[in-house]
């Protein structure tokens, strides 16, 4: 009995499959191949200039109205803080932190400021299934807390471990991350608070393209002073915030193993098979079904005809 039923329903099954197939790939097709905005702004962070004064941290805290820190911003003992063997990182109370690195063979320490790098093709953005992230034409990667569901995939995806989650809130949690001071400054063409606060101009704000020129100029003209590499020019497909360093980048806490292509490229393999499965599977398995149940069907049919006779 089952097989005759399924014969009839075969069409329905096929139809259902086709509907799924036509509705869903539509949504996949945007799998963006977005290259970033040509006139986007960025910041070039020069480790040879930074003196670890933490002015940027203080300015960010004020600008972004972040909670009061544990220790004042002129307390340099924070550089010795170690959690789980790691130096300080961004968390729900700070969008940016400066860490000290004692590089062997160097008579003075180096400092590195970290914050969101505002990637050209942000992994956080591409991994978000509610589109909470936007890359603005000005270059900022901003976040919309009103649609975020708190799944924290962006935190998994960000190659620089930047986004953090406000775990401490039960009713108003959200992602906390540097937004390039977009609302208050960048939108109006003004430099971010941290850049403005930096006494050393260790943070150079400008069009990303111009910053690359500047970076290359510094390397070209003082080759002894710099590693011949601008971190962020190509890392994860390019970032709006980039770094210059006097020592190999892995000695000052940079992950030098991040891919040179956008994170999305690693996911494309899978996204590519989606339409295939959606369109081929229904036909394939319906076919299997017909083959597998052919004998039963023939038998049933014969019985039917016998009965009629």
């Amino acid at each position: 009995m089952k097989t005759t039923v399924s014969r009839r329903t075969f069409i329905k099954g096929g139809l259902a499959g086709t509907v799924v197939a036509t509705v869903l790939p539509e949504k996949k097709s945007q799998a963006a191949t977005f290259e970033g905005y040509p006139d986007g702004m960025g910041v070039l962070v020069d480790l040879t200039r930074c003196v670890g004064c933490r002015s940027c941290e203080a300015a960010c805290n004020e600008e972004q109205k972040l909670p009061q820190p544990d220790k004042p911003f002129d307390d340099f003992s924070v550089f010795d803080e170690i959690h789980h063997g790691q130096k300080r990182r961004t968390d729900e109370t700070r969008y940016t932190v400066v860490n000290r690195y004692d590089v062997p063979g160097l008579d003075h320490p180096l400092f590195r400021k970290i914050q969101c790098n505002h990637c050209q093709e942000p992994a956080c953005l591409t991994s978000c299934f509610v589109n909470a992230y936007t890359k603005t034409p000005e270059g900022a990667v901003i976040y919309n807390p009103n649609v975020c569901v708190g799944c924290r995939t962006c935190m998994i995806a960000c190659p620089f471990n930047i986004p953090t989650f406000k775990y401490s809130s039960a009713f108003n949690p959200r992602i906390m991350k540097c937004i390039f001071c977009y609302d208050t400054r960048l939108k109006e063409g003004r430099p971010p608070a941290c850049v403005e606060a930096c006494p050393q101009e260790a943070l150079t704000f400008g069009k990303r393209n111009k910053l690359l020129e500047i970076g290359r100029q510094r390397i070209r003209e003082t080759p002894d002073k710099y590693e011949d590499h601008i971190y962020g020019e190509h890392e994860v497909g390019g970032t709006a915030w980039m770094y210059l360093s006097s020592v190999p980048f892995d000695q000052v806490g940079f992950d030098t193993h991040v891919p040179k292509e956008p994170i999305l490229n690693y996911v494309k393999d899978f996204l590519g098979i989606v339409p295939m499965v959606l369109t081929v599977w229904p036909a394939l398995f319906a076919g299997f079904h017909l083959l597998a149940t052919r004998k039963d069907w023939l038998k049933n049919k014969n019985e039917d005809t016998h009965e009629e006779e």
Binding site: S168, F270, A286
Partner: protein
């Protein structure tokens, strides 16, 4: 439940009518035909229930804590390990173990293998509950759990892998509800409903395969967003989704073997003869499927390592751990399955299935927790997080048992159907 057999021959309930000709009421059906006091007597006689009570006594207050004070009250609130046990076990572990639904649905309905029919409903139920509780785990882990439906209607991010997971798990959950409904309809005696669903079986089954292939794979593909974070041995940008999909096949089958074994041993009164008599045979056939899926899985695991030129990693400490996982979690059960099948020893197959189930959970935990951010440090989940995970799993167990005790899952309904 020794209770039943002697004094009350009409129990367990398998029909709408009592021996005296009157109808069982729904309430009586829910109480398994026992009086309230008898029901509780048998309930408290069972040590498992006491264990459950102990787990819930601590777990429920912890859940309140999570919802009132936020995730940081019950987890380490780690920004380096954004996904903890709730997802690592609850989502990434539960979903492959629930692949049974579509596997047996396909085998019976599409390939016409009626010999698997006695276990089909159990497989479907196992699938449904696994997915349902994966969603429960998700609801505990999501920061803004009240926005669960946002990716469906409020703000769509269709280019993201998780979008696909969300849609597919949601759709598939409905498919599975539909697939399990006939059992409920038989039990409450609403035959029209059953006929409607019956007429959709093939469509549902095919939808099940599509959705399952994609979201089982998608769960793996989620990790390809972190190519620089997951240890290279556990991540292959090209093959990750196949690894996850392929391993879900034997995970799902093994899970049905485990749960059918438990049911046969501890709820034998509920099984009918068809189920009991065919179970060994079915178990061995499922074991064969497992061993085939496992060998395929092993081959693509090796292919992935060769493709990404990762041989050198095998010589490191992580490499040993990787080999240990594959050895204990896959190769060992694979041989046990093969030997069990060849010698027709269902007990060996069952033992293999238990190992395979643990092996797959181990693999998912490795991918999402242990080997995630392997260059940083090792995150050990907070005890409260562990306890809540156990609590939800216990709830899963209770629900599972509740349904198996009542609906015609491992027995066939004697009344009209």
């Amino acid at each position: 439940m020794r209770f039943f057999s002697h004094q009350r021959p009409e129990l367990p309930i398998v029909d709408h009518v009592k021996p005296d000709g009157s109808q069982w009421t729904l309430k009586e059906k829910l109480w398994l035909g026992l009086s309230g006091s008898d029901y509780f007597k048998q309930f408290f006689r069972n040590p498992v229930n006491w264990l459950m009570i102990g787990i819930f006594a601590v777990g429920i207050p912890l859940l309140f804590q999570r919802y009132i004070y936020g995730l940081s009250a019950v987890t380490h609130a780690s920004n380096d390990y954004p996904w903890g046990l709730f997802l690592g076990f609850g989502l990434f572990g539960m979903v492959p173990l629930s692949a049974s639904g579509f596997m047996l649905g396909t085998t019976v309905e599409l390939f016409g293998r009626k010999d698997f029919h006695p276990i089909e409903r159990l497989a479907l139920l196992n699938g449904l509950l696994g997915y349902f509780f994966a969603v429960i785990f998700l609801e505990i882990d999501l920061g803004m759990w009240w926005r669960l439906y946002y990716p469906m209607i409020v703000s769509l991010g269709p280019a993201a892998v998780l979008f696909l997971v969300a849609w597919h798990v949601a759709t598939y959950l409905s498919v599975q509800v539909a697939e399990v409904l006939p059992a409920l309809f038989e039990w409450i005696g609403w035959l029209k409903g059953k006929r409607i669903i019956r007429s959709m079986t093939l469509g549902l089954t095919i939808a099940g395969i599509i959705l399952s292939t994609l979201h089982q794979g998608a769960l793996g593909a989620l990790f390809t967003y972190a190519p620089a974070k997951v240890h290279p041995l556990w991540l292959s940008a090209n093959f990750q989704w196949i690894h996850f999909f392929c391993s879900s096949i034997f995970a799902g089958l093994s899970m049905v073997i485990v749960s059918s074994t438990l049911i046969r041993n501890f709820a034998g009164w509920r099984c009918d003869d068809e189920f009991k008599n065919s179970l060994d045979d079915i178990t061995i056939k499922l074991g064969k499927g497992c061993s085939l899926a496992m060998i395929t899985y092993l081959v693509i695991k090796v292919v992935a390592i060769a493709h990404d030129q990762e041989w050198a990693y095998l010589l490191t400490g992580w490499g040993s751990y990787y080999l240990l996982e594959l050895g204990v979690g896959v190769v060992l059960p694979m041989f046990m399955f093969a030997i069990g099948v060849r010698n027709n020893r269902a007990s060996l197959v069952r033992f293999a299935a238990v190992i395979a189930v643990l092996g797959i959970v181990w693999n998912r935990l490795n991918t999402s927790l242990v080997c995630f951010n392997w260059q940083l440090y090792q995150e050990i989940p907070h005890w409260k997080e562990v306890w809540i995970t156990i609590t939800i799993y216990s709830l899963y167990f209770l629900t599972y048992r509740f349904i198996v005790y009542r609906l015609p899952i491992v027995y066939s309904w004697k009344g009209e159907k």
